[in-house]
């Protein structure tokens, strides 16, 4: 080993749901060194454990719930964990990150990662307590929605227990069902809730641990002092203050002004101001936070739920043509209760609406009109998706419904690699953003890179500092945008492995938040791990390459790193972005250059030399099967 990892703990429980046996291992230090934790170690385990040709909803799929190295330590915003499996929605790498209070409690209960294998005969819950996982009857919770499940679990396992669970959508194997932490935090993307449902697991409850189950901190005084310094540093940041004031909806006005709000399935690109942050805020009773958070960007709304995020108000608002503020927030609450990914829900519904309005599908398939701008219809559709009833049963298949919806080439679906796009931003204007959703390892998703700093018109020297070279300051320019995407993808893979929220990550909304030097210090003071900044950058590259290797194995090649047809063919209709679209040749050039700096082959595969190198690292995992 070249890096001393100190006390970084990766206590992993393998739960074989078929046989009912539970085994434990401390992840081999050689592998922890290379991937640190969270998303990184989850990817390593999935790559190692998933058998070839697995059906994502079969017992052979492997569902991994893993915390980051710093999760639950009191480091700023260290509430994150990842849920990882082969995605039933996209058929490729499925990985979703969430906050809330679960990760902290899981680690305090003495376990850092739970790997679910096989399938239980009957509905069960997993209970983690005092360093052990037990499989308990979950029949009484089956059929309950997310809020009811969380309340019932608190009642049964104590108010200080924390749980992740699925709602009715996960039970019914809706391919975009999510895993919920609390009532609003979602490990949303890629249908991880359907995988959990396919294993008959309703919830994982962290109930607490003994003193000896806690994490061992290398330099307690130094660590506390560092955390306090970082808290003060972050709270001085303007973006942290603004996010804490109104949350992510603040981005709505910016994108809307730009003319880049996905509206009515991206047929349009600007919408009503009824979804502006200030107006949303009239429906908010309080801003609340995840564990150890210095930002507090989550809303508690006055319609009996939490949220909404920027993503939700657009995907279930503008994108469905629904402008009424209260109605949009109620749709958010409904999707959360049912355990649905709001991004895919909005993307799939709007797809069907456009197809219906264009006459590509009709009442014989839908059973009645499916039109934009109808709140009651949206409620009915969302419920029918979660329960897999009627037309909802077809929509529950997500992008796989293409044949049945008479749009076999998905010409009208805003998705990449079978995953509907999450970010409300129409990416035809910001070219780096377009490349980012095309290369993201889980499909069309903004939280793998979200390269938007360039719209702030930052000074060149600051850009040089962030990207390591000169990059174009013009968002509509294609040149050098591969460097922008590459840089963001790298740091986000690292922060997901460390278990800290992207909202305080360098590059997410500001160039001044936490970066490698801070991560290096945190890992040192907490665990005595000695990573240099360069070594942390290597970890990031490794995680991105490993996820690509997984996807290559699932058949992903250059042809899949592309964009929805509309982004190439139709110019944007409004605002500053009017007239912009993605040029196919320029996009190809950008992708060529991206592969080059990633050192991947021209066909989008990882080189054999790199595969051999990473295979050798992952081989150190003991694992329970190969």
């Amino acid at each position: 080993m070249t890096v001393s990892i100190g006390n970084i703990r990766s206590r992993t429980a393998f739960v074989d749901l078929t046989s009912g046996s539970v085994t434990y291992e401390d992840t081999s230090p050689e592998v922890v060194e290379k991937f640190i934790g969270g998303r990184g170690l989850n990817a390593a385990y999935l790559y190692k454990l998933l058998p070839p040709d697995t059906d994502p909803l079969s017992p052979e799929n492997v569902l991994i719930v893993g915390t980051g190295a710093m999760s639950g330590t009191g480091a700023p915003n260290s509430s994150r964990f990842n849920v990882t499996a082969l995605s039933p929605e996209s058929g490729i790498f499925g990985d979703a990150n969430s906050g809330g209070f679960f990760a902290t409690k899981l680690r305090a209960s003495g376990i850092d990662r739970v790997i679910m294998l096989g399938k239980a005969d009957v509905p069960v819950i997993l209970k983690v307590e005092d360093g052990e996982v037990t499989i308990e009857d979950g029949g009484k919770y089956w059929g309950l929605d997310v809020n009811e499940t969380q309340n019932a679990i608190k009642g049964d396992h104590g108010p200080s227990s924390e749980a992740i669970c699925i709602g009715p959508a996960g039970e019914k194997l809706v391919r975009f069902a999510c895993v919920m932490s609390g009532v609003k935090n979602a490990a949303a993307r890629g249908g991880m809730g359907a995988v959990m449902g396919s294993k008959n697991v309703k919830a994982v409850v962290a109930a607490g641990g003994r003193i000896e189950d806690g994490l061992v901190i290398d330099d307690p005084d130094g660590f506390l002092t560092l955390c306090e310094e970082l808290k003060d540093y972050l709270q001085a940041s303007l973006i942290v203050k603004v996010l804490g004031h109104v949350g992510t909806p603040l981005l709505y006005e910016v994108s809307n002004h730009l003319g880049a709000i996905r509206t009515r399935n991206s047929q349009d690109s600007s919408f009503e101001d009824t979804l502006d942050a200030e107006i949303i805020h009239d429906h908010v009773s309080k801003m609340i936070s995840c564990h150890s958070c210095v930002v507090h960007c989550r809303h508690r709304n006055i319609h009996e739920g939490e949220g909404p995020e920027y993503t939700t108000i657009v995907l279930l608002g503008a994108n469905l043509g629904i402008a009424d503020t209260a109605e949009v927030i109620k749709l958010n609450n409904l999707a959360n209760r049912l355990g649905l990914d709001v991004s895919s829900t909005g993307g799939i519904l709007s797809w069907a609406m456009e197809l219906y309005e264009k006459g590509i599908i009709d009442d014989s398939l839908t059973g009645g009109p499916v039109k934009f701008g109808d709140y009651n219809l949206a409620v009915k559709l969302i419920e029918s998706v979660a329960n897999r009833e009627g037309f909802g049963d077809i929509l529950a298949e997500s992008s796989r419904a293409a044949e049945k919806l008479n749009d076999p080439k998905r010409d009208y679906l805003t998705a990449v690699k079978g995953l509907p796009q999450s970010d409300p931003h129409d990416v035809r204007y910001i070219k780096a953003f377009a490349l980012g959703i095309a290369t993201a390892s889980r499909g069309a998703d903004h939280l793998r890179s979200r390269p938007t700093l360039e719209v702030f018109d930052l000074p060149p020297e600051l850009l040089r500092d962030i990207y390591g070279q000169d990059v174009s300051r013009d968002p509509t320019e294609y040149d050098t945008k591969e460097v922008v995407v590459y840089t963001h993808e790298n740091i986000y893979s690292l922060i997901d492995a460390i278990g800290i929220c992207k909202f305080i990550c360098h590059g997410f909304n500001s160039p001044k938040l936490l970066k490698h030097e801070h991560f290096s210090k945190l890992l040192d003071k907490a665990f005595g791990a000695k990573y240099t900044e360069a070594e942390l950058r290597d970890v990031a590259l490794r995680i991105v390459d490993l996820e690509r290797m997984f996807n290559n194995r699932q058949g992903i090649r250059r042809k899949d790193d592309t964009l929805p047809r509309r982004y190439f063919d139709e110019p944007m209709p409004h605002g500053v972005a009017k007239g912009h679209k993605i040029d196919r040749d320029q996009f190809k050039g950008m992708l060529d250059r991206y592969y080059k700096i990633r050192q991947w082959n021209d066909d989008g595969t990882v080189t054999q030399e790199r595969i051999d190198e990473i295979d050798a690292m992952v081989d150190h995992l003991a694992g329970v099967r190969t």
């Binding site: 009191g74 305090a108 200080s160 806690g214 150890s292 210095v294 507090h296």
Partner: protein, 155 residues
């Protein structure tokens, strides 16, 4: 003299005070070992950080049969003398606020907020000002007037 000030309206329920407290006192990141507990009251949409108020007329002290609780007047803090404590838990049942706690892994072992000996870590970590440790001015007006001042401050 400094005093721990609680402003529930500013609390966002992030639990960092509990985590920091637990770590500072038991080297463990578990809310179950914290001297401060954030309690969410759904009906009022309010999260209250509950922590020893260092009462002027402390019920816990009155309930103690051995005099094991004493006032540390350097920092105005009620503390436990473990040499005298017999583990009868009278103080736990005496405190009307539930701020005297017992260790579930060590029967009869009670603990409470010790103000971190004059530098409470909960206040240092609180990101919103819901918990602060500050010099306080003596009350000048009526209780109602003082409350109005606080209301005006936290909204």
């Amino acid at each position: 003299m400094k005093q721990l000030i609680i402003k529930p309206k500013l609390c966002t329920n992030c639990h960092i005070c509990e985590l920091a407290c637990s770590f500072k006192h038991s080297m463990e990141f578990d809310l179950a070992h914290s001297r401060v507990k954030t309690i969410f009251h759904a009906e009022d949409d309010l999260t209250v950080p509950e922590i020893c108020l260092q009462c002027i007329d402390p019920s816990c002290m009155k309930g103690c049969p051995t005099g094991a609780l004493y006032l540390d007047d350097r920092i105005n803090c009620i503390r436990v003398n473990y040499d005298s404590c017999i583990g009868c838990l009278s103080c736990v049942v005496s405190c009307p606020f539930g701020n005297m706690l017992q260790d579930r892994s060590k029967p009869g072992h009670v603990y409470k907020c010790d103000l971190c000996d004059g530098d409470p870590v909960c206040a240092r970590f609180c990101p919103t000002g819901a918990l602060t440790y500050v010099e306080i001015e003596p009350l000048t007006g009526s209780v109602e007037m003082e409350l109005e001042k606080v209301e005006a401050e936290v909204g």
